[in-house]
């Protein structure tokens, strides 16, 4: 005598694949969306979230308006590894202060790729600090458009004050193979961390 049919419903197609995510971080204009576009199987998608933030430096005449709502946007793409596993690449919003309020963005990520531009390495400091302080594994990719390399890996490592174990790769993010190699470097870095952690 059970007329509730909800337990007899079936998935409309194949079972849902498992999903994992990797963050693509770095300063404004450093090539996050370029990298997502070069390896994603779909054109980069854009999604938005509303964040409530404490407003700073806003006229506060009546002492009430101390909160503001900000729209933060990010681009993302996907790589189907198999029918049962899909990797999502999320280009993080350029300003790290928003990541604190968007915990869903960072939470549960396998790791991160921090992109850097040798002409303004300082724009990647915030991302590196964020991941270092939270123990989130990351690799650094130096975007060399058209093969231009005006710094060596060791110069970049020194300028960014990176630990010796953090991989740094030079590459042209418009090239799928270079972006793929950055992701592979991250996975190898994660696997190396696993073998250390498990003895």
């Amino acid at each position: 005598m059970d007329f509730d049919d909800s337990d007899r419903r079936h998935p409309a197609s194949a079972p849902a694949p498992a999903a994992v995510k990797i963050l693509i971080a770095g300063g404004f204009g450093v090539g996050k969306t370029t990298m997502v576009a070069s390896v994603s199987e779909v054109a980069p998608l854009r999604t938005e979230e509303y964040l409530t933030v404490a407003s700073v430096g806003v006229d506060d005449v009546d002492g009430v308006a101390d909160k503001a709502t900000t729209t933060v946007a990010m681009d993302f793409g996907r790589i189907s590894i198999s029918t049962g596993l899909v990797v999502y690449l999320f280009g993080t919003p350029g300003q790290e202060r928003f990541w604190f309020m968007w915990k869903d963005l960072v939470h549960g990520a396998l790791g991160a790729v921090v992109l850097a531009d040798t002409r303004r390495l300082q724009s990647s400091f915030g991302s590196i600090d964020f991941f270092e302080s939270r123990g989130i594994p990351f690799v650094v990719g130096v975007n060399c458009f058209g093969g231009r390399q005006d710094r060596t890996v060791s110069e970049v490592r020194e300028a960014l004050d990176l630990d010796p174990h953090v991989p740094i790769l030079m590459g042209d993010l418009r090239q799928r193979a270079d972006s793929r190699d950055l992701l592979l470097a991250l996975i190898d870095h994660l696997m190396a961390g696993q073998s250390v952690a498990t003895g």
Binding site: S6, R8, R9, H10, P11, A12, S13, A16, P17, A18, A19, V20, K21, F28, G29, T33, L45, T47, E48, E49, Y50, V58, A65, K67, A68, T69, T70, T71, V72, A73, D75, R78, I79, S80, I81, S82, L85, V86, V87, Y88, F90, G91, P93, G94, Q95, F98, D104, L105, H107, G108, A109, L110, A177, R180, L184, I187, D188, L190, M191, Q194
Partner: protein
């Protein structure tokens, strides 16, 4: 409340419009009762045994989600294709979960805890090498 759009590229919509409209769709609800939905929770539309999707009495946005998730799709992608913010999309998907119209699969990394499984990493590496 003041409204400030922030993004890598400026958004061209009228901010007042883009804030008000989504919450009209959710009948004024501003947050989901569910806190288990993430950006990469995989949403799958459920059908009756004869393959029918139950979209009776639903809003157009709900119908769009049911159509989109015939092929399983993560929440962030549903939001992007609906052109609605993540928070609003979570409310709409929550409605569909509560009424048994979609199923939700949580992301792997969270289900497995802090450290990803080594076999998962190997599978990702093998897949990336084929790119």
């Amino acid at each position: 409340m003041w409204v400030n759009h922030w993004a890598d590229e400026s958004l061209e919509e009228d901010p007042d419009d883009s804030f008000v409209r989504p919450y009209t769709i959710t009948h004024g609800r501003t947050s989901s009762a569910r806190d288990d939905l993430t950006l990469i929770t995989v949403i799958s539309t459920l059908t009756s045994p004869d393959g029918l999707i139950d979209n009776r009495g639903l809003e157009p946005e709900h119908r769009f989600i049911l159509d989109q998730c015939r092929t399983p799709c993560v929440l962030a992608e549903v939001a992007a294709r609906l052109n609605l913010p993540v928070a609003v999309t979570k409310i709409l998907i929550g409605d569909l979960i509560d009424t048994g119209r979609v199923s939700a699969r949580p992301p792997l990394a969270m289900a497995a805890g802090q450290r990803p499984d080594i076999t998962l990493l190997q599978a990702v590496r093998d897949g990336l090498r084929r790119l």
